[in-house]
Symmetry: C2
Subunit: 306 residues, 2 copies
């Protein structure tokens, strides 16, 4: 574990991953205020929306309007998902600086989530990436279900390595190895990410964890031990499946910030300001934030204890 | 990380640590049913109560009655806190098989929590331990605030080593290194527990984490990497400070079980049964369980996601 200060990059995905399944419509002005507060909290990379077809994800139908109104801030990079060429066109028209494409390490999950085979998705995204890069826009790749698939179970590490390389080959400058259902434990991270690192430099990888079983922060530590220095997180732990009342969403940005700072990795992010930012969404949806630090900041009384 | 199955011992502290600050009175029969379900879930070491003065912790005033009614189960060991000689007498009369004594690594915390200096507490507990051992009852030691004290801040690892040895010297067969306010991160665990292990065998140590900042499971992994094989946990994540509405309590047993099983360490504990056991308390207090797995089991709907 690092004893020298070594910065870690946090990619904030709350506005996109945290809101894409949100059943309560969130007004564009609220989303914009959320993003503005995330910037003020110190976050520098923010995935703000997805240019998916509005009928598929009505929650993000205001993607163009949201992007048009975001504050220009020095050193801050906004990104958005571009699920196809039409989505890319909209993203480029909206002035997005970075787009993300996505496939899965599980064939069944790819079919169910994006209605394409993995090969089809890579052909589609190769063209999206080519056009994005031609327009001067960089491309991130997401690889879903890298550890456990809800349909196929365990995913072989070799498949994750292969698909990571293919995403880099089509022009992604970074691949987010994603534990979509949040089932991985540090041993899975060591095995799978360890294999990927045998062929891919750490600087081209991010880790994207969900906290369904409580293992997300432990998995981050496993990633740190492997040399990974980029982690995705969602303010307030927003995300996950809102139809399951208590289902945990993404790893919470504020919990990640606490861990990283305590481990000696400066983040430049103020965790209380992240909680306050996510509070805008929580106030609107009426659902409390699930993160440990949001709960901790909800009260401050001393109790005797062992 | 272990690839061979290597069992890990879980010390369930929910009935004591989880209920000692509970503002809603829990009937003895409910506590007994809770313990019975914990046994049925596969837990084999359960700290059921504290023989503290009833005026100090009225929540546990029924300690003798509770202990008298517990089911005898082969291989199951019940323990209770014995905060002084009077408490030990009551514990022995109630037929407890194991008692626990406790001091702190922070002088200020010891004064505020047990109203004794550390030296005074060790003199008191030396006599408690002597008499317990003479009666054929084994003794566990808790060492609070081993990483961060709410009053003194950072606690030196050398102090934790010294006090661990002194607790072993007075007759404890195991010391639970405790992160009382839940502020430690894996680097703290590596530093402090690593130093303790330079002089004390792993078999004499347990780790006791609270999940205030979300780091408890990551800290468990740090402990596993150091060779620790005993961890405390509380069913449902019960405990912590109930006056802070959302404050996280102890590391939740079910989250620990998920992590350990996924890491290849068999526990013999069924996590859904642990959640159901804790549900008895949750139903009574009206407060939802805070653990990730309890929340996950609260609903089961599929959502598309990256």
């Amino acid at each position: 574990m690092a004893s020298q200060p070594e910065p870690v990059r946090i990619v904030e995905v709350g506005p996109r991953d945290g809101l894409q399944n949100e059943p309560v419509p969130v007004p564009t002005a609220t989303k914009r205020a959320f993003v503005e507060r995330l910037v003020a909290a110190g976050l520098r990379e923010i995935e703000v929306t997805s240019f998916v077809h509005p009928k598929l994800v009505p929650q993000l139908a205001d993607a163009a309007e949201l992007c048009a109104g975001l504050p220009a801030a020095p050193g801050v990079r906004y990104s958005a998902l571009a699920p196809n060429e039409k989505g890319l066109e909209r993203a480029l028209a909206a002035g997005v600086q970075r787009v993300a494409v996505f496939t899965a390490a599980s064939e069944t999950f790819a079919q169910r989530n994006i209605n394409m085979s993995i090969d089809e998705s890579l052909r589609t995204f190769a063209e999206v990436a080519r056009r994005a890069l031609a327009a001067g826009v960089s491309v991130r790749g997401y690889l879903s279900t890298c550890f456990v698939c809800p349909f196929e179970g365990h995913i072989a590490a070799a498949r994750v390595l292969d698909l990571t390389q293919r995403l880099l080959d089509i022009g992604c400058d970074e691949v987010a190895i994603s534990d979509t259902i949040g089932a991985a434990a540090p041993r899975d991270v060591a095995e799978t990410v360890g294999l990927v690192l045998s062929r891919v430099p750490a600087a081209k990888l991010a880790l994207h964890f969900h906290d369904t079983y409580g293992t997300a922060l432990a998995n981050v530590v496993a990633g740190l031990q492997l040399g990974i220095r980029t982690f995705d997180a969602s303010a307030g732990g927003l995300g996950g499946c809102p139809f399951a009342p208590g289902a945990a969403g993404n790893l919470a940005t504020e919990d990640l910030v606490y861990l990283l700072e305590r481990m000696g990795h400066p983040t430049g992010v103020r965790l209380d300001a992240v909680v306050a930012a996510a509070g805008l969404i929580s106030q609107h949806t009426g659902r409390p934030l699930a993160s440990r630090n949001a709960r901790r900041l909800g009260g401050d009384h001393a109790c005797a204890a062992v």
